[in-house]
């Protein structure tokens, strides 16, 4: 059995309440930190562990924290990004519903490391059950003295609140999230200044993903060598991987970082459904490039997936099977991105609906060869460096890789003047 520190204690469909969490050693890490460690020591340990953010970008967590100014007056903030709206992603829900105190403990320790005064869990609207569970867990944590003033007898004070969103993918982008928390439209902010220096209400702010923060207590308890030993590769820890699509056993599993695409598909997801073959997969949610049959033995970590031309992203894979049209698949994705574009910058606001229309025309049998060239151009116009945030470049990742790996399918739509798969309407 592989070790699963984040999820091993979660029984299917159940929540660990405060007593159950304490019974398995919960809040011991917080005790240790409060008794033995300075904020700087916490940050140094996280940095040394090389924990990389699980929200999609994979930035070093300890490094991010180290940019927060530790002198000066006025509030600082720690925010947990629980907006999870990347299509194909369902990993944070598991942690939020199954072990809310693990997240809260991780947030308190992280907040202590940057000496934050106030923290928020920013949770998407649709996670009704998770929100109810989190509300209860927060009041348990306050009642037990883990939150509020003089935490565990130490001169440290932290408030923690749950904020539920009102639905917009952009709320997950960290600077747009800050605007949303300030009651504004969820449009991104120019960087620099980075949120670590000037974030919520202009104050130093750290935003981290649910899975990232849930790891913090374990790193405090068991240390750097243990964290690295969980992984098969240079990127430490376990990772929550998921598979959805036409496989026998879709689901999510916490596994050593670096399991291969093939292992995930065959051993965990039970292989393709009878009658369906594997054509490709988005390894980490809607905004990652396709991997195909040639990548089945690629280890699913940040480094190897990047070398294969894609991104680990959220680590939850969406499978494209051989009965499903790749053009229709990408059309569905671009429809999502076009709708969720915040409209702030022109290439994205104009380019995504255009992309979606072209893909729709192809699916309807009205596409031309010139349309394919337009799609190629769009993948450059909306690529990195041309837009204000990462939504548009993310939207281009599945498109550019589909154009590369499934070109023939695009061309058949043009030449046959119809969708050769014919199995999906729009």
């Amino acid at each position: 059995m592989t070790e699963a520190p984040l999820t091993g204690h979660i029984k299917d469909g159940e929540t660990l309440d405060l007593r159950a969490y304490e019974a398995i050693g919960g809040y011991q890490a917080l005790r240790k930190v409060m008794q033995e460690m300075t904020p700087q020591e916490v940050t140094a340990l996280v940095k040394e562990s090389n924990l990389r953010g699980r929200g999609g970008a994979g930035f070093s967590t300890g490094m991010k924290w180290s940019f927060v100014p530790m002198d000066g007056k006025g509030p600082k903030y720690l925010i947990c990004n629980a907006d999870e709206m990347e299509p194909g992603t369902f990993k944070d829900r598991w942690l939020l519903e199954g072990n809310p105190h693990q997240l809260i403990e991780g947030m308190i320790i992280s907040a202590y490391a940057i000496q934050a005064d106030i923290s928020f869990v920013f949770m998407r609207w649709a996670y009704k059950e998770a929100a109810a569970i989190m509300r209860k867990a927060l009041s348990e944590a306050y009642a037990a003295g883990y939150l509020g003033s003089n935490i565990l007898g130490k001169d440290y004070h932290l408030e923690m609140h749950l904020h539920t969103g009102v639905g917009r993918y952009m709320c997950g982008e960290e600077t747009a999230l800050l605007n949303s928390l300030e009651g504004k439209r969820a449009t991104p902010r120019a960087k620099p200044p980075f949120p670590q220096i000037s974030g919520l209400f202009g104050r130093p702010t750290i935003v981290n993903n649910v899975e990232t923060l849930s790891f913090i207590p374990h790193i405090m308890n068991k240390g750097v060598a243990w964290f690295q030993s969980l992984s098969r590769t240079g990127d430490g820890g376990t990772k929550i991987y998921g598979v959805s699509g036409r496989v026998n056993k879709p689901g999510a599993w916490e596994l050593p970082m670096g399991v291969t695409v093939r292992e995930l598909l065959e051993e965990y997801a039970g292989g393709m459904q009878n009658g369906y073959g594997f054509r490709g997969a988005l390894p980490g949610g809607a905004s990652t490039d396709f991997l195909t049959t040639e990548h089945l033995d690629v280890p699913m970590d940040f480094t190897a997936i990047a070398a294969a031309g894609s991104r680990l992203g959220t680590g939850t894979m969406v499978v494209l099977d051989d009965h499903t049209c790749p053009v229709g698949f990408v059309h569905n994705l671009e429809h999502f991105f076009a709708q969720e574009s915040c409209g702030f910058c022109t290439p994205c606001r104009e380019g995504l609906p255009w992309t979606e229309k072209i893909l729709y025309a192809l699916e309807q049998g009205h596409g031309t060869t010139a349309d394919l060239e337009q799609l190629d151009l769009h993948t450059r116009w909306l690529g990195p460096g041309n837009t204000f945030c990462a939504l548009a470049p993310g939207a281009m990742e599945p498109l550019q890789s589909a154009l590369k790996y499934f070109r023939e399918d695009f061309e058949r739509h043009v030449h046959e003047k119809k969708c050769p798969y014919g199995n999906h309407s729009h």
Partner: protein, 154 residues
Amino acid sequence: MLTATEISRIEHELQQVPVKKAAVIEALKIVQEQRRWVSDENVEDIATLLDMSADEVDSVATFYNLIFRRPVGRHVILLCDSISCWVMGYEGLRSKLMELLQVKYGQTTQDGRFTLLPNACLGCCDRAPALMVDNDLYRDLKVDEIESILMKYE
């Protein structure tokens, strides 16, 4: 006119934030909770309470997918139309819903019982296709289950 309860709840929110404007999303949520949608008049009332212009409040209200600026039915159906549900054939559910309710996306049934809306990924893609009715999540759906689900809602 906002009710006394709504006003006192919004005023409570105002104590939590450093600037009044920051409470606008909470205020919209509070107003929508009982009324199910936010009218022009509600927008103006919120604006007055928060020292904002009505247009400013509206620019926030209309940005977010789940603040409704038009009346909705007693129950709102959010059908996931994102990638995993698409691969798993959510379109069958869509046709069934449209046929049973005699509505298109964005419309409300004649009896005011349901509004049907598409929604982005509901975060349960391993159990696709999925939909929500109000606060209730339904997963691993089959077309022939739709009718009995709808019957649970008056």
